[in-house]
C-alpha cells in the first residue's frame, strides 16, 4: 500500500470537504436546526462535545462571603443557557453545564478551573467574580487554553487571549461619570473613598488623573479594609473638606455601614450636598443596604434594571419567571447573561468549538439582543458599551438620568492614566 496521498486524492478530499461544508453552512444560515457537522469536525481538540451535547462550566462562589454577589451571575448564566437550549442549542448541540463552587476562596478557583478544563474538558467557562479569583484562575486558563467569560466590572490592566471581559473596565465606568458630574452638576471638588484592594485603588488613580485633567480638585483620598464598618471618622473628614462629590468604590458589606452612618451623620443624599457617586452599588447591593438608605445616590455603570428598551423588558421577565418575582438584576448579572450568548455567536461564526477558532471569531461579535442594548467585542477582548448614570429611588431601583451617545471604547491600558 502506498501511503502517499496523490494529488488526485487531495483534490477529491478538498471537494469532499467543501461538499461537507455546504450543509454546515446551510445549518448556520438556517439557524441551528439539525446541524449535520460531525462532532469530530467542530471539535478537534478533545473538548466534551458529542453529536448532540456540549459541556460548559459555571464557576462562581455559591458559598462564603462572595456568594451573595455571585449568585446573580450564576442565575443569569443558567437562564442564558436554558434560553439557548430552547432555541436549539449551539451548532445543534444542547448545552450541559457543570457547576463548581469557588467557595469565595481564590486557590479553590484555580483548582476548580483546572478540574473543569482538564477533567471535564468543557468548551467554555462562565465564571469568576472578584479580581483575586480571576488572577488565581487566569494562569490555568492560559496554560490549558480554556476560554473564560468574566462578568464583573474591574480595574483593567489585563488582556488575556483566554478571557472575554463582559463587564466594563475602569475607564468605561469612570470617565463619563466624572464628566457628567462636572457638566450637569457643576462639581469642582471630589473626595475619593474606597475599599483597600486593587480595583478601588486603580479606579481612584484613573479618577484622580481625569479630575485633575479637567482642572478640578481632589480634596481627599481614603481606603478602608474589606469588611470595614466604622466610617464615622471619614464622614467627619468629609464634612470638614466640603467636597461637591463623594466618589466611592467601597464594596460588599461595608456599604451597609457606610450609607447608614452617612444618613445618621445628617448627610441626606437627596440634597446632593455633597452628591454621592458610586461605582460599586448595584440593585443587588441595595437589597442589603435598604433602598431608603440610598435614595438619591448616583451610580455609574452600564446597566440598570430599569432600562426601558425591549431587550431588557424581555430579559427581566424571563429572569423573574425563572428565579422569582422578587429577584433583582444588577450590572454584573446582566454582564454574566451576555457570556453564553457571545460564546454561542462566536462558535457559530467559527463553525467550531475549538478555543483557537473562537479566539479568532470573538473580536467583532455583536449582540443586538443584549439587555443593555447593543454590544460588540473589541479586539482587546473587552466590550464596547455605553456609560450610564442611575439615580437611586427609595424602592431600590434606579432612574437612568444620563446615557452616553456613543459606545465607549474599552481601553484596559489607558495611556496617560497609569
Amino acid at each position: 500500500m502506498d501511503n502517499k496521498i496523490s494529488p488526485a486524492t487531495m483534490k477529491r478530499r478538498k471537494v469532499l470537504k467543501s461538499l461537507l461544508a455546504i450543509p454546515a453552512a446551510m445549518a448556520l444560515a438556517g439557524g441551528t436546526f439539525g446541524s449535520l457537522a460531525h462532532a469530530s469536525e467542530v471539535n478537534t481538540t478533545g473538548l466534551a462535545v458529542t453529536d448532540d451535547t456540549v459541556k460548559v462550566g459555571i464557576l462562581h462562589s455559591v458559598t462564603g462571603t462572595m456568594a451573595i454577589s455571585e449568585t446573580g451571575s450564576v442565575q443569569a448564566e443558567k437562564l442564558a443557557i436554558e434560553q439557548i437550549n430552547a432555541m436549539g442549542g449551539v451548532l445543534g448541540r444542547k448545552i450541559e453545564y457543570i457547576q463548581e463552587d469557588g467557595a469565595s476562596d481564590w486557590p479553590t478557583f484555580a483548582e476548580k478551573s483546572k478540574k473543569l478544563l482538564v477533567n471535564d474538558k468543557v468548551a467554555a467557562v462562565f465564571g469568576c467574580w472578584t479580581s483575586a479569583s480571576r488572577k488565581a484562575a487566569l494562569p490555568v486558563f492560559e496554560q490549558y487554553n480554556g476560554m473564560l467569560f468574566y462578568p464583573t466590572f474591574y480595574e483593567g490592566l489585563e488582556q488575556s487571549p483566554n478571557v472575554i471581559y463582559t463587564g466594563q473596565e475602569a475607564t468605561q465606568q469612570i470617565l463619563k461619570g466624572i464628566d457628567w458630574a462636572k457638566e450637569t452638576k457643576g462639581a469642582k471638588k471630589f473626595f475619593l473613598l474606597g475599599s483597600d484592594y486593587i480595583w478601588p485603588r486603580t479606579s481612584n488613580k484613573i479618577a484622580r488623573k481625569h479630575i485633575e485633567k479637567l482642572g478640578l480638585k481632589v480634596v481627599g483620598e481614603e481606603y478602608y479594609p474589606l469588611g470595614h464598618t466604622q466610617f464615622n471618622s471619614v464622614i467627619n473628614k468629609i464634612k470638614l473638606k466640603k467636597p461637591d462629590v463623594i466618589f466611592t468604590t467601597v464594596v460588599g458589606g461595608s456599604n451597609v455601614a457606610f450609607y447608614k452612618q452617612l444618613k445618621a451623620a445628617g448627610i441626606d443624599l437627596t440634597k446632593e450636598k455633597p452628591l454621592v457617586l458610586t461605582l460599586s452599588v448595584t440593585e443587588d447591593e441595595i437589597l442589603g443596604i435598604g433602598g431608603e438608605n440610598v435614595e438619591g445616590l448616583y451610580a455609574s455603570m452600564k446597566y440598570f434594571q430599569s432600562l426601558p428598551n425591549d431587550n431588557n423588558k424581555k430579559f427581566e421577565a424571563a429572569f423573574k419567571k425563572m428565579w422569582g418575582e422578587k429577584s433583582v438584576i444588577g450590572d454584573v448579572t446582566q454582564a454574566a447573561y451576555l457570556g453564553p450568548w457571545l460564546w454561542k455567536a462566536a462558535v457559530e461564526k467559527a463553525g467550531s468549538f475549538d478555543v483557537d477558532a473562537i479566539k479568532k471569531t470573538l473580536p467583532g461579535i455583536e449582540l443586538t439582543t443584549a439587555p443593555e442594548g447593543y454590544v460588540k467585542v473589541h479586539p482587546n477582548h473587552h466590550l464596547w458599551s455605553k456609560s450610564r448614570i442611575g439615580h437611586a429611588k427609595a424602592d431600590g431601583t434606579f432612574d437612568v438620568v444620563y446615557e452616553s451617545k456613543e459606545l465607549i471604547e474599552p481601553n484596559p491600558f489607558p495611556k496617560g492614566y497609569q
Partner: protein
C-alpha cells in the same frame, strides 16, 4: 545496648505505619490517579506538614497554636517571591511602566523593587529563608510568651491575633505584597517550567519524600527524651519545672519546629499550586489546619497525614458533587468525628484495627521462632 535504643525509637507499629504510608504516597496514589488528581493530593499533603507540626506542639506539648497559617505563609511567600522575580524579567513585563518588577508593583505605582525583595533573587537565600525565617519568627513569639508564662487559651488567642494581623498587613500593603490577590502567575523555577505535567509529577514526589523525611524527624522527636518531657509538661508543667528542667526553652523549641514544618509545607504549596495568597494565612485556614490534626488524631503523626488527606479530599469531592450544600456536609463530618471518635482516625485505628494487626504479627513471629 545500641540495638535496644534503636528499637525503642522504632516500635514495630510505627515502622509498619511508616511503610504503609510510604507505599501509599510513593506507589499507590501515583498509580491510581492521573496527574490532575495527583497534583491535588500533593496540595493536600502540604497541609500535612502543618498538621504534623501541630501534633508535636499541641498533641504532645499541649501548646495549641491557632496561627500556624503564619508559618505556612512565610514559607509560601518566600518561595512565591523568588518565583515571581524569576517570572518578572524585563522582557516579560515590557508592557509595564517600569519593566522588570512584579506586575502588581507596577499597578501600585512602585517604580523600584523594595529592598526586602532583593535577596529573593537568590535561590539559595530563599531556601535558607524558608527554614530560618519561621524559626526566628516562632522564637520571637515563643520567647515573648512562654518566658512570661503565657499559655493555654491565651496563647491560642494571641497566635490567632498574629495571623489576623499578618493577613491585614499583607492585604493593606498591596504594592509590596500583591494584596488580596496574592502573588500569582508563577512560571519557572531556575528556568524549569513548573506548570507542565512532568514537573507536577516530580514536584509531587519531592513533596512526598520531604513529608516522609519530616515524619522521620517528628518520630525521632516524639521518641526522644524531649518528646517524653513534652508529654510530662503537658500533663503537669509545674512538676517538670520543679524537677529542674527549663520548661520555657523546650516549649519554644517545639514551637519553632512546628513552624519550620509548616513553612516547608507552604513552600511546597506555592510550587505545586502556582501561587500564594493571604487567604491561606488568616484565622480560618489556621483553624482548618488544627481540624486536620484533630480529625487525624492529635497524638498521632501518621494520623495527621491521613487527616489532612481525607478532610481535603472530602472537601474537593463534596464541593464537586454538591456545590451549594457541601459546607454543611463538611461541618457535619467534623462534628461527627469529634463526637464519635475524640481521638480521631488514629484512635479508631488503635481501638479496632491495631489489636488484629498485632495478633497477626505475633502469630508470624511465633511461627518464625518455631521454625
Amino acid at each position: 545496648m545500641l540495638q535496644s535504643k534503636f528499637k525503642s525509637l522504632t516500635p514495630r507499629n510505627d515502622v509498619l505505619s511508616f511503610v504503609v504510608l510510604a507505599v501509599l504516597l510513593l506507589v499507590l496514589l501515583p498509580l491510581l490517579f492521573d496527574i490532575f488528581r495527583l497534583n491535588l493530593i500533593g496540595k493536600y499533603l502540604t497541609f500535612a506538614f502543618v498538621a504534623i507540626g501541630l501534633v508535636l506542639s499541641w498533641g504532645l506539648g499541649g501548646i495549641l497554636s491557632l496561627g500556624q497559617g503564619i508559618f505556612f505563609g512565610i514559607g509560601g511567600y518566600a518561595m512565591a517571591m523568588f518565583l515571581k522575580l524569576e517570572a518578572s524579567t524585563p522582557e516579560n513585563t515590557a508592557i509595564q511602566s517600569t519593566p522588570g518588577i512584579p506586575d502588581f508593583m507596577d499597578w501600585n505605582q512602585l517604580t523600584a523593587l523594595p529592598w526586602f525583595w532583593e535577596p529573593f533573587h537568590s535561590f539559595g537565600f530563599t531556601l535558607v529563608a524558608i527554614i530560618v525565617l519561621p524559626a526566628i519568627f516562632a522564637y520571637i513569639i515563643g520567647a515573648a510568651m512562654f518566658k512570661r508564662r503565657v499559655g493555654g487559651v491565651y496563647f491560642a488567642i494571641i497566635t490567632q491575633a498574629i495571623a489576623a494581623i499578618l493577613t491585614i498587613l499583607i492585604i493593606g500593603q498591596q504594592g509590596y505584597t500583591g494584596g488580596v490577590n496574592g502573588i500569582t502567575d508563577l512560571r519557572t523555577l531556575l528556568g524549569w517550567d513548573i506548570r507542565t505535567d512532568s514537573a507536577k509529577y516530580i514536584l509531587y514526589f519531592v513533596n512526598a519524600i520531604l513529608l516522609l523525611a519530616v515524619l522521620v524527624a517528628a518520630q525521632y522527636i516524639r521518641k526522644s527524651k524531649l518528646g517524653r518531657l513534652l508529654v510530662a509538661m503537658r500533663d503537669s508543667e509545674d512538676r517538670v519545672r520543679f524537677s529542674g528542667y527549663d520548661v520555657d526553652n523546650y516549649k519554644i523549641f517545639i514551637f519553632c519546629i512546628a513552624g519550620i514544618f509548616s513553612s516547608i509545607g507552604g513552600a511546597m504549596f506555592t510550587l505545586q499550586v502556582g501561587f500564594m495568597s493571604p487567604s491561606l494565612i488568616g484565622i480560618v485556614p489556621s483553624i482548618e489546619m488544627v481540624i486536620f490534626a484533630a480529625v487525624g488524631g492529635n497524638l498521632s503523626i501518621f494520623g495527621a497525614v491521613y487527616g489532612a488527606l481525607i478532610v481535603n479530599w472530602a472537601k474537593t469531592i463534596l464541593s464537586e458533587s454538591y456545590p451549594e450544600v457541601w459546607l454543611f456536609a463538611m461541618g457535619a463530618l467534623f462534628i461527627a468525628v469529634v463526637l464519635a471518635f475524640p481521638k480521631g482516625l488514629a484512635g479508631l485505628y488503635e481501638t479496632y484495627l491495631q489489636p488484629k494487626v498485632d495478633k497477626l504479627l505475633d502469630k508470624k513471629l511465633k511461627k518464625d521462632k518455631a521454625e
